[in-house]
Amino acid sequence: MDFEPSEEQQLLIDQVRRFVREEIIPLEAKLDPDAAELEPADHARLVEKTKAMGLFGIDIPKQYGGPDIDIVTRVLLAIEMAQHRAGLYVPCYGTFGGAGLAQIFEANEDQKERYLYPTLRGEKKAFFGLTEPSGGSDPARAIQTKAERRDNGWVLNGAKIFISNADRAQYGIVFARTDASKGRAGITCFIIDSDTPGFHVRRVVHTLRSSHYATELEFKDCWVSDHQVLGEVNKGFAVANDRLTRQRIPYAAGCIGVAIAAHEMAIEWAKMRSTFGEKLANRQAVQWMLVDNEIDIRTARHFTLEAAEKARRGLPFKIEASIAKLTASEGGGRVVDRSMQIHGGMGMTKDLPLERWYREMRIRRVGEGPSEVQRMVIAREILGSNLR
């Protein structure tokens, strides 16, 4: 497969690259090193710019009013959008729009009117409630939140953890067990309004990401009507699985973007910095670190574009998505680590973005399915699905 960008893709890449360098990075220099938000006026101004570029709502399908961007091009742009201090988790500070995992394109028309369209217009925010204190890597078995039939609706009881944006969202999609005897075939997806009685955001969960926090949720006799079921009863796991598989590709792209930015910084530093009368760039130890960076980046880029290309062509891409996520998150971590090493003491400071990338990149080996789960997915594919 040829992964060189087409002329049209290259124009878009250049456009986004200029946006990052001329608009985002200068504003970022004035923010706290761990900031995750622009000043509201700056955000609004830049949203107008991305709209003028025709790229606002970048993840929204064309039939819902989004730009007509295929997933390969999306990956190429995601790599560019991540190349700034906050870029791994907040690429371009959200100025390209999008609702992430909680976009509910499979909703019925009534649900689309109430939730999807307002979200796409930027009027509502949503959260994705899957992981529970009992575990996140194996949601089919770990989900203990129960939804029981009562009063022509469902009553939810249980807890969720590591849920982003639940404290700020107007609604979320929440996975609960509706049939305890059926494993993954006993999970249903519900749309929960944040003001539903019995829904509580109990606390902030602090992580390596000081810029942002997750939350812990509690559902206590939280009643919702049948109208809040997304898709079919007991078929919610497919909704979760579809998102988790798809998400692995842009997730990988973000890691690659940050790795490229760190690598470019390391190259510049190595050319500039001298020790014991010699440029770092002339020392074999440093050269080899830079070579290993280059190989990690190229490997991750190749596998991520391969996964995107298969998805674009409508072919199965589960194994490719896992390989992409695995190589990009692990390789990206190594690249940032080596780049910090090349920078020496400066690499550890908040003066440079490397320390933030180092902390945040560490999370990527766990988030959206840890490396071990990705390897398990790949092993199942190559050894057969009956492997236990």
């Binding site: 761990d34 404290d167 700020r168 509580h200 602090h206 926090y213």
Partner: protein, 112 residues
């Protein structure tokens, strides 16, 4: 696993001398009046020249006598700052008066 949501350390007098004894580390702080009513919740972030020390020395100079403070050294200063603000709002129904003048974008918590 115990999770401490609220800052509950003893108050210290907000004077330049007391603030100068603080470490130069990152973290969060609260300013209160003489009765202990919280006026402001702040953070000493990555651009503070001497972290908590420089933030609290500045606060002492700007606010004058009759105020108290307490601090928490915390590398997760931003998410901890958001948390303290949301918990305060949940407990008191409003942000501290000096935060309410220019409120950051906040979510809502209902701590148990």
């Amino acid at each position: 696993m115990s999770v401490r949501l609220r800052l509950d350390k003893p108050w210290r007098p907000l004077t330049p001398e007391e603030a100068a004894r603080l470490p130069g580390q990152l973290g969060v702080y609260q300013i209160a009046d003489a009765e202990g009513a919280i006026l402001y919740i702040g953070q000493a972030g990555g651009r503070s020249p001497f972290g908590l020390r420089s933030e609290l020395v500045r606060e002492a100079e700007e606010r004058g006598p009759g105020r108290q403070f307490r601090v928490e050294v915390n590398m997760q200063y931003r998410s901890r700052w958001f948390e303290l603000l949301m918990v305060h709002k949940a407990d008191h129904g409003a942000l501290p008066p000096d935060n309410a003048k220019n409120p950051p974008p906040l979510g809502r918590l209902s701590p148990a």
